[in-house]
Amino acid sequence: MAQYAWLIPLLPLISFALIAFGLRRSPAASGWVTALAVLGSLILSLSIFAQALGGGCVQSVCIDQSYDWIPLVGSPSLAIGIRVDALTALMLVVVTSVSFLVQVYSTGYMRHGADDDPVETNGYARSYARYFASMSLFTFSMLGLVLANSLLTIYLFWEGVGLCSYLLIGHWHWRPEAAAAAKKAFLVTRLGDFGFLLGILYLFSQAHTFQFDQLAQMAASGLIGGTALTIAMLLIFCGAAGKSAQFPLHVWLPDAMEGPTPVSALIHAATMVAAGVYLMARVFPLLVHSDLALQIVATIGAFTAIFAASMGLVATDIKRVMAYSTISQLGYMMLGIGVGAATAGVFHLFNHAFFKALLFLGAGSVIHLVNSNEMFASMGGLRRYRPVTMLTMWIAALSLAGIPPFSGFWSKDEILAAAATRAMPLYLAALVTVFMTAFYMGRVMFVTFYGEFRGDRHTLEHDHGEPMSMTIPLIILAIPSLFTGLWGAPFLGSGFAAFIEGPGAPEVATRLDVVVLSSALAFLGGLLSWGMYGRGSFTIPERLTAQLSWPHHVLMDRYHLDHLYNWIASRVVLGLAWLAGQFDTLIVDGAVNGIGARTVQLGSVLRRLQTGQVQTYGWVLFAGAVFLALLVALPIVTAGHL
C-alpha cells in the first residue's frame, strides 16, 4: 500500500485545483469534493496504517523514496521525497481523519459563514468555496509535511501549511482583526522559520544531506555532533517553536482564533500546530545526541505549558481558552521530547489531536448558536440547547484534564513520568499545569453549559438545531477521545510505543506516584472550578479578580508580551527602516542630487565669465596662449637649456 502514499496528498491537491479552477461557482460541490477527497486520503491512510500496524514494513519503514528536484552544478541534485514509517502512518491517520471530520463539519458550519459574510449564491456564503479551496490546500500541505523524508521536503510543506494557516485565519479578510491576526501568525512563524532555514543550511553545510535517515545515521556514527549538532538542533527547534507556538513565539496562536472555528480545530489545534512537535520527533534521532538541546527543548516546553495555562485561567473568550490550552499541551509534548520521551510526546500529540479538535468543534457549535465567543457575556445554560455538544465536550474536557481513563490521561502521564525521572523542576511545573488545566477546562464547561443563559435571548429564538453534518463529527471524535489512550496504556502492553519504536522498544516506565499525584491534582482543579463557577453565580471569581487585580491584569494582558513585540516591531524595526529611508532620501539621493546641483552651479559661474565684452574674450585668449607657453617653455628656460 505504501507505494501509493503519494496519492494521499494528491487527492486534496486535486480538489483544491478543481475548486480553484472551476467549482468556485458551485459552492455546494466544492464542500463535498473536499470532503470526498479527504475521505479518499483517509481510506488510503488507514490502509497504510493497517499495513504498518500489521508489521508490513521493513524495520517499521514502509517506503523511503527520493526524487531529484533541483539539479545542481557539480553535485548531486537536491532531492525531495516521501517516507512512510510508523510515525508517518500515525500522523496520516490523524490528519486525514480530523481533516475529514472537520470538512464535514464545515459544510454545515461555514454555509452561512460569519454574520458579516454576505450570502450570495444559492444560499451559500460568498467565501464558502474559497474556504474549501484553502482547506484542501492545507490538507495537501499537511499530508506532504508528514510524508516528508528530508528536512528540505518538510520545509517546503512547512511553509505551505503556514500559508494556508495565513489564508484561513484571514478568511474573513474584511475584518481588520482577522487580517491582522493572519499577518501576525505568518510573521511570527516566519521568525521561527528563520531559525529553521538556517538550521537546515547549517546542517547541510556540515552533513551535505537533508535526508532524515542519512542524518540519523551520521549522528549515530558521530559524523555530526558536538556543538555543531547542538546549534543545528536549536535552530531547527526555533522553527518548531514558531509553528507549535512555544514561548516566546506563542503570541500568534491566541490571535489566530479570529479564523473560522473549524479552522482552529483542524489547523490550530490538531494538526499544523503539532507539526513542530512532529518535526522534533522526526529529528529526535539527532536531538538525542545533544544534551543541551534536549534540555532547552524540555525547559521551553515546560515553561510554555505552565505559562500558557496560566493565561487560560482568566480568558473569557471560549476559543482563546482553547488556544491557551493548545499552547500549553504543545508545551507538554515538547517537554516529553525534551526529556527523551519522544514517543510519549507523539502519543500525546495523537490523543490531543482528537480531543482538542472535538473541543474546538464543540466550541464552534455553541458559537454557531449564540453568535459570540464570549463565555460570560453570551453563554450559559446551553446544555438545554446543545446536549450532544455538551456531552461530547465533557469527554474531551476530561481527557484534556487528564482524568483517567480518558485518552489524555495516559499520554500525559507518560510525559510526567519521564519528566519526574529526568528533570524534577520541570516535573513540578508540569504538575502545576495539570491542576490549572483541569481548572480552566472545568471553568469552560460550567460557564458555558450550566447556570442561566446570559446572552441576548433573541439569538436563541431562531435556533432550529444544528445540521447533522455538525453533530456527527462531534460524536465520532468523542470515540477516540475516550479510547485511544488505552492503546498506550502500560497495563495493556504499551502498544503505541511498540508501534512507533518498532519491536524491541524499551518498556514504558510507569510511576504510580506520578499517576496518583497528577490524577489527584486534576480532580482538585476540576473541583475548584466547580466550586467557583459551577453554581450559577460568579461572586467568588469576581471577588478574587478584584483582590488580585494586578496579577489578573497581567494574565489578561498576556504578560504584556504582545505589547513588547508590538513595540519592537513598530519602534525598533520600523525605526530602523525609517532611518534607512531617511538615509536613502537625504544622504544617498541627496549626495547625487547635490553633485548634479553643484555641476549646474559651476555652469552658472563659468557662464558669468562670458560677459559679452569682446576684450574680456581677447584677454582670456592671450592669457591662455601665455599659459600654454609657460607650461612648455618655462621649464626649459629656467633650466637654462640651450
Binding site: L156, A182, L187
Partner: protein, 486 residues
C-alpha cells in the same frame, strides 16, 4: 539556429519601424502589430530554447553568428546564446509580450508607445545575446533612449525627473564600463572584443582589478547596488506599469548578467579579490532595500525597493563563488524577473482601477476584486520566498551556496526574508484586506486579457517553483563554465 536568433533580435525593431511609418491614424493597429510581433519573437525565443543543447559546451553557443563588422578595431557582430543568457533572452521576449498585452488600452500616443517597447525589446535581446563586448555595450546604451521616452512620456507625475535620473545614472555608470572594456581590449594579448576569446585568457591580477572595478561600476548602477540605486525607486514609481515590469524584469538583470558574464567569466582573479566586497554590498542591498521598502507609502515604491533587496540575493549567491551560489544567482535573476514583474502588473491593475497607489488610501479591495487579490497574494508570497513558488528555489540555492562562505551575510539575508514577509503582508493587509469601501464598490475585477497575462506569469512562477529542473539544466550549462573558474 543563427537565423532564428538574429530574427528574434531584430524582428521587434523592424516591427517598431513598421509601426512608426504606418500611414495616418493607425493607433489601433499599432497594438495588434506589437502583439503579433512580440508574440512571434516570443515563439522564436521559445524555439531557440527548445533547440538548446545543454551539453553543447562553451565554445559553441546557440545560434552563434560571427561577422566582422569594424575590423579596424576588431569589432565584430557576434551573437549567440548560452545557458546564462538563454533564460534572460526568453524572459525578455515573454515579458515584452505580456507588457504589450497589459498596455493594450494605452490611449496616449499608442503608436509611439508600442514602437518604443518593441525597440526596447531588440536592445535588451541584443544585450543578452551579444558576445562581442562593443556590441554588448552598444545594445546596452541602445536601451536608454526608448526607456527614457517611455518613462518620460507615459510616466506618472514626476516622470521627467525620473526619466532624467534614470538615463543620467546609467550613462554615468556605462562611462566607466566603456573605459573598462577598452582596457580589457588592450590588456588582452589577442586584442579582441570577442568575449569567447577574452574568456580563454587570463590577465595579470592588477589589470584585472582595474578592469573589474570599472566594469562593476557600470553594472552596479543597473543592478542597482547600493549606493548607486536611488534612480530605481523613482524610475519604477513613475514608469507606466508595463515599463516597470520590463525594468524590473529584464533591465535590472542586464546588470547582474553583466557581472556574471564579464566580471566573473573574464576576470576570475579580480573576482576572487573583490568577492568579500561583493558579499558585503549584497547584504547591504538585501537588508537596506527591505528596510527602506518598509517605510514607503507608495505601493510601487515598496515593490521597487523590494526589487533592490531581491537583487541583493543575486549578488549574494554570486559573491560566494560556489557553484550552487552562482546557480542560485542565475535562478534568482530569472525568478525575480517573473515575480517582480507580476507584482508590478498587479499594482498596475489596482492603479488602473482605483487611480491611486497610496497605501493609506487603499483597502478592502479583495471584496471587489477577488482575482486580483488572489494573484497579488500569490505574487507577494512568491516574493517572500514561499516554497512551491519560484522565489524559494532561487533564494534557497543562494543561501545554500553562500552559507558556507559568507556566514554572517547569509544569516542577515535569511533574516531579511522575515522583513520581506513583514512588509509584503503589511501591504496585502492594508491594500486588499479590511472592510470593503464604498468608493471601490463600482470597480470590476481583472479582465480576461489581464488574467491571461498574469496567468502566464503565475504559471511560470509555479512551474519553476515546483519543477525547478525546467530551468535547471539550462542554468547549469550556463553556470558550469563560470563555476569552473573558482
Amino acid at each position: 539556429m543563427d537565423l532564428l536568433l538574429n530574427l528574434a533580435i531584430w524582428l521587434p525593431l523592424a516591427g517598431a519601424v513598421l509601426i512608426a511609418v504606418l500611414p495616418g491614424n493607425a493607433d489601433r493597429s499599432a497594438r495588434w502589430i506589437a502583439a503579433v510581433i512580440s508574440g512571434v519573437a516570443l515563439l522564436l525565443a521559445l524555439a531557440l530554447a527548445w533547440g538548446y543543447d545543454p551539453n553543447a559546451g562553451v565554445a559553441s553557443p546557440l545560434g552563434l553568428t560571427s561577422v566582422p563588422w569594424i575590423p579596424q578595431l576588431g569589432i565584430g557582430y557576434v551573437v549567440g546564446l548560452d545557458g546564462l543568457s538563454l533564460p534572460m533572452f526568453v524572459l525578455n521576449a515573454l515579458l515584452v509580450f505580456l507588457a504589450v498585452l497589459i498596455s493594450w488600452n494605452t490611449t496616449l500616443r499608442p503608436r509611439e508607445y508600442f514602437a518604443l517597447v518593441l525597440a526596447l525589446e531588440t536592445a535588451v535581446a541584443g544585450v543578452f545575446s551579444a558576445l562581442d563586448f562593443i556590441l554588448f555595450f552598444l545594445f546596452w546604451e541602445l536601451e536608454l533612449a526608448p526607456m527614457f521616452l517611455l518613462i518620460g512620456i507615459w510616466g506618472g507625475a514626476r516622470r521627467e525627473y525620473a526619466a532624467m535620473k534614470f538615463i543620467l545614472y546609467t550613462v554615468a555608470g556605462s562611462a566607466f564600463m566603456l573605459l573598462g572594456i577598452f582596457i580589457l581590449y588592450l590588456a588582452s594579448p589577442a586584442h579582441t572584443f570577442d568575449m569567447l576569446q577574452l574568456g580563454s585568457q587570463r590577465l595579470a591580477p592588477a589589470v584585472q582589478s582595474l578592469i573589474w572595478i570599472l566594469l562593476f561600476i557600470g553594472f552596479a548602477v543597473k543592478v542597482p547596488i547600493f549606493p548607486l540605486h536611488t534612480w530605481l525607486p523613482d524610475a519604477h514609481t513613475e514608469a507606466p506599469t508595463a515599463i516597470s515590469v520590463l525594468l524590473a524584469g529584464v533591465l535590472l538583470k542586464m546588470g547582474a548578467y553583466g557581472i556574471l558574464r564579464a566580471n566573473f567569466t573574464l576576470l576570475p582573479d579580480a573576482t576572487h579579490q573583490f568577492a568579500l566586497l561583493l558579499g558585503i554590498l549584497a547584504v547591504i542591498n538585501i537588508v537596506y532595500g527591505a528596510l527602506v521598502a518598509m517605510v514607503q507609502g507608495d505601493l510601487k515604491r515598496v515593490i521597487a525597493n523590494s526589487s533592490i533587496s531581491h537583487m541583493g540575493y543575486v549578488l549574494l549567491g554570486a559573491s560566494s563563488l560556489t557553484a550552487i551560489g552562482i546557480q542560485g544567482a542565475v535562478f534568482q535573476m530569472f525568478t525575480h524577473g517573473t515575480i517582480t514583474g507580476l507584482l508590478f502588473i498587479m499594482v498596475g491593475l489596482i492603479y488602473d482601477r482605483t487611480h491611486t497607489r497610496a497605501i493609506a488610501d487603499l483597502g478592502g479591495l479583495a471584496a471587489r476584486m477577488p482575482k486580483i487579490a488572489a494573484i497579488f497574494i500569490v505574487a507577494a508570497l512568491a516574493s517572500l520566498g514561499l516554497p512551491g513558488l519560484s522565489g524559494f528555489v532561487s533564494e534557497f540555492l543562494v543561501f545554500l551556496g553562500s552559507f558556507p562562505v559568507w556566514g554572517v551575510q547569509t544569516i542577515l539575508g535569511v533574516f531579511t526574508i522575515v522583513l520581506t514577509a513583514g512588509y509584503m503582508l503589511w501591504v496585502v493587509e492594508r491594500v486588499l484586506f479590511g472592510p470593503e469601501r464604498p468608493e471601490w464598490a463600482h470597480l470590476g475585477d481583472a479582465t480576461g486579457r489581464e488574467m491571461f497575462a498574469v496567468g502566464v506569469l503565475v504559471a511560470v512562477i509555479v512551474l519553476i517553483g515546483v519543477f525547478p529542473a525546467v530551468l535547471g539544466n539550462v542554468v547549469i550549462a550556463g553556470t558550469t563554465p563560470i563555476a569552473l573558474r573558482y
